[in-house]
Amino acid sequence: MSVALLEGSEAIADAMVAAGCRFFSGYPMTPFTEVLEHMATKLPEVGGTCMNAESELEAVGMAWGAAATGTPSATGSTGQGLSLMQESLSEATLARIPLVVLNMARAQGDYWQATRGPGHGDSRMPVLAPMDVPEAITLTQLAFELAYRWRNPVLLFGDYYLAHTASSVDVTRVEHAPLRADDWALTGATSGTGNARLVSPLGSGEYGAESSYADHLVQCAHATEAMLAGIEPLAETGFCDDADVVVVAFGTPAKYVRAAVTRLRAEGARIGYVRPITLLPFPSEILARAARGARTVAVYENSQGQMVDDVRLALEGAVPVQFIGRLSLDSSGFGIAPDLDGDYLRDRLLDVLNVDVLNVDVLNVEVLDD
């Protein structure tokens, strides 16, 4: 491949194909529709199948069915559409289905749906939150690797910005372990052998033939814990070493936070940032280390505050935590945040820094250059 200007929705589609995805199903809802359209074009070109499912419930069902045959599969929606899929996603975890799920979210209020969901019970899905298109290409591929390594659905948490920002990217395959399913997937080959396979959320005797549904649930809960302990938490940190104030944000807004923090640094403020990349497992240790010397930790989310709980849990009272975000949407409701495009963010950071005027000497038009 070569570098091209791709919107995030197309880059994610290319990355899925590069990762080996050969089945996709979805139902239109902005800004997920954009990815669905690209998959509908790209998958047939590589011998895959894209289904314009009749609803979200059917979309997740189709993806579940394809994934159960060992075909790398994905589905998704916005947070609202994913609400409809909560039963399926929770139970797909119990059925140990490797499935990549996209939340092309509207703003960031689906953090809890992502990290405390899916649905009922103790099921959990790892959650990856890219900040921009190049990172989405990497994380999309990581999502498939994790889904197969742990036989569990994995959520990629994007947004309208990610879907619609065009970037110069070269979608190349990230080398990862092959997506192997030959020891469990349904192909018909074991039918009639006296030992036919079963893929089931109710348990398939894999923890012992006599194991009950209850045993299965308990074993799945342990498998989830092992998975979350086994996945390396990822986060980006910057300027934290001597920071008075550490700002935490994820996804596209984190890129805004990083830009604002970088500028304030250039202006002389002792401010740093932490950007969780895996939301589940949450990078608690990285955060705790980064915030060690800080006077305060500020959390920005484009919601009324959800991740802030994870930040508090990570810090356990060691550093005071304040929430500086709020839900901000333009009239489309798709998730473009007026707060990010004006002074709101910088003003909040100045509030936290507790300064009105910074050392403006260092302020010049070139501060953001290398």
């Binding site: 050969r22 089945f23 199903s25 199948t49 289904m51 499912a53 009749e54 609803s55 419930l57 059917e58 979309a59 997740v60 069902g61 189709m62 993806a63 579940w64 069915g65 394809a66 994934a67 159960a68 045959t69 075909t71 599969s73 039963e87 399926s88 139970e91 059925a95 349904l186 192909t187 018909g188 080959a189 074991t190 039918s191 009639g192 052998t193 006296g194 030992n195 036919a196 396979r197 079963l198 893929v199 089931s200 959320p201 109710l202 398939s204 005797g205």
Partner: protein
């Protein structure tokens, strides 16, 4: 009087050949926990035998819904993809699209298919998906205690219609086979019953036709099978076959509703 009875504990000593062997061979464990007189194991047997008849035993993926029949998921000797309540047709769609060379079937009940997941089967049929759906129709949610479903016949007894389903209060039953037959993607639609041996034989033929339609790639195929649920109907087991005839069958009339090969 005792000597009227012949020994039946062991195979005969006289020269004889086996023509039917306990459970179907695609069932690992014949024993099950379903109620006495339940029609579901009877229908299951017919389906499993038909799969063998069409020579697809080693190519079959069975997607199973949630109802009393789910108890067989662990003992079938065909690969089973267990679906959530109502969702089997979408899983079957995904599986078939991913592996067109497989024979993909679903096994669902009326509660599963006509209540929780009605639109799944209709969309799948409309798409002309090359899968075969089997519906075990007893007009009750057997598994959760025998309440009325969307197929319960008017006058039929269920846990919450002990005096019989009444249209004014509970609405009318849905003849889902008729709805499916109306869809252009459906290539074969039939309704059978397992309340007597003749009907079992006829139903097995329908099942075979439905599977052959799938194998020929002609579109969606569907067989509804009326099954006895003496427990949910609150009738004695010997009376259940007749109760089926007099109550369910007049609404859900057995027969072939559509066959594109004719």
């Amino acid at each position: 009087m005792t000597d009227r009875f012949l020994p039946t504990a062991l195979p005969p000593v006289e020269a004889a050949h086996l023509v039917d062997d306990f459970g179907p061979s695609l069932l690992d464990v014949a024993e099950h926990s379903l109620c006495p007189g339940c029609g579901e194991p009877v229908a299951l047997r017919a389906i499993l035998e038909a799969i063998e008849d069409v020579g697809a035993a080693q190519r079959t993926i069975g997607v199973i819904g949630i109802g009393c029949y789910t108890a067989f998921a662990n003992s079938l000797d065909i690969e089973v993809l267990q679906a959530l309540h109502g969702r089997a047709p979408s899983l079957a769609t995904g599986a078939k699209r991913a592996r067109p060379e497989n024979l993909v079937i679903t096994l669902q009940g009326d509660g599963d298919m006509v209540n929780e997941g009605l639109q799944e089967v209709l969309h799948t049929a409309a798409r002309g998906e090359r899968v075969t759906c089997f519906m075990l129709d007893n007009g009750v949610f057997g598994e959760t205690g025998g309440h009325m479903t969307a197929t319960t016949a008017l006058g039929q007894r269920t846990k919450n219609t002990l005096d019989g389903r009444d249209a004014e209060q509970h609405g009318f039953p849905i003849r889902v086979s008729n709805l499916i037959a109306e869809l252009d993607g459906a290539a074969y639609v039939a309704r059978g019953a397992v309340n007597n041996a003749g009907n079992v034989a006829r139903t097995k033929k329908m099942i075979r036709s439905a599977l052959e339609i799938q194998e020929a790639g002609l579109g969606f195929s569907f067989v509804e099978i009326l099954t006895m649920c003496p427990t949910g109907w609150f009738v004695d087991t010997p009376d259940a076959p007749d109760y089926l005839t007099s109550t369910l069958a007049p609404v859900h009339a057995p027969g072939v509703l559509k066959d594109v090969t004719l």
